[in-house]
Amino acid sequence: MDIFQWAIASLVVFGWPFLLSAQKVPTSEPNTESSARLLGRVLAWQDTFPLGAGLGPEYQVFVFAIERGRSERTTPVKVAYKFFKSEGPLPDRFFDYSRQYELQVVRDAKCDESVKSLSYAKNVDESGKPLPPTYVLRFLEGAPNDALKPDAVLACYVLRPGKYRVLTQNSGGTPPTPTTR
């Protein structure tokens, strides 16, 4: 059975409109497509700031390699981890290539992005004069750094707190903090 079947197509029917009795709450979900289950490993995280300025959630971005059964071929995708201050960002131990994860995510084509765009941050000096861009993808220790083709556009998925679990972890121990290169 193909583990990449996009399982739950409809979902995202939240119960919250029924929780308020005093007044009817408007429903304005910014961009919800379909939910999916992804199996694979974190390849790299995007070293960029800010994550958000409030008036909404914050986001951490990483690249996830979807694994297809026993095949060595993987499909990289962009994952935006969406969290509120009360929930906090992903812990450092999440960024461990030895861990195989199952992510319950929601597809969001509006944040699809090319590898090239995802990899570099623009810079300027104090006068606004452009400076060379900074490479901001941080590959995890042990992750193949040739898995991303610069012109490839990565499909984007949104991950929420608690919507992931570790399936397996390779032996050899886990570094206390993510080692990147």
């Binding site: 929780l19 408007p26 304005s28 958000g52 300025a53 409030g54 008036l55 992903l90 810079n123 000096d125």
Partner: protein, 228 residues
């Protein structure tokens, strides 16, 4: 800031100073298309000014008034003049949000005409706190954003460096307004410039600590209309 009162109005302003409470009320009453006004009641509680409610009140303003009149749920908004960080407003926990008046004031600058103003941002945070009493954080944010828009994920980030490129001074980035009315281009500066070496080889959380410890303030907001 906590907006709540004994008659059932449910938003309480928990302010760091008396002056900031007064400023928050002034900002709140500066909502675009405001159809009622509030004033500071006893204990820092907000109450609707008598006779200020428009006869034909409806839409977002009607929902906001409804939240004030809900006797069952009480929301709190912590109001600070300067949190030391660049956020406009954040959701802290069920029923509690915080706002930074210094950052919010940048939303009222001429460069942001057409964008979210401080009053609408305060209304968003008040409703977010209110809705979060009865639903999850994400759903509450959506519900609040449907009435008073919020900001979507940061894009097009541009770091600002000193002339030697050894210290990170700040950043400018874009956040689309959730109702599609345009984009906010937001610039902030670190209170203490961050030496590049302090970020090198750091884990995600360690980097966040560096950014937070440096302190930051919004220095400018520019509204960018949607492309035609």
């Amino acid at each position: 800031m906590t907006l709540s009162d004994p008659t059932g109005l449910d938003v309480t302003l928990n302010c760091d100073t008396k002056e900031n409470c007064a400023k928050a009320v002034q900002d709140f009453n500066n909502r675009k298309g405001a159809q009622f006004k509030v004033e500071l009641g006893k204990g820092g509680k907000l109450q609707v000014v008598k006779g200020s409610v428009a006869k034909d009140i409806g839409g977002a303003e009607g929902k906001l008034l409804g939240a004030f009149n809900d006797t069952q749920n009480h929301a709190t908004i912590n109001v600070s003049g300067n949190t030391g960080q660049f956020e406009f407003g954040v959701h802290n926990s069920a029923g509690v949000n915080s706002v930074d008046l210094g950052n919010l004031s940048k939303l009222d600058s001429p460069s942001n005409a057409g964008g979210i103003n401080s009053g609408d941002a305060l209304a968003h945070e008040a409703l977010d706190a209110y809705y979060s009493l009865s639903m999850g954080a994400e759903a509450a944010d959506w519900a609040a954003a449907a009435l008073y828009p919020g900001l979507l994920r940061p894009t097009d980030n541009q770091g600002a460096w000193d002339q030697f490129r050894t210290n990170l001074l700040g950043s400018t980035y874009s956040s689309a307004i959730s109702n599609g009315s345009g984009t906010e281009r937001i610039t902030f500066r670190y209170v203490t410039p961050i030496p590049a070496i302090d970020l090198f080889g750091k884990s995600p959380q360690a980097q966040q600590d560096v950014f937070r410890n440096a302190g930051s303030r919004v220095t400018g907001v520019t509204f960018v209309p949607p492309k035609q």
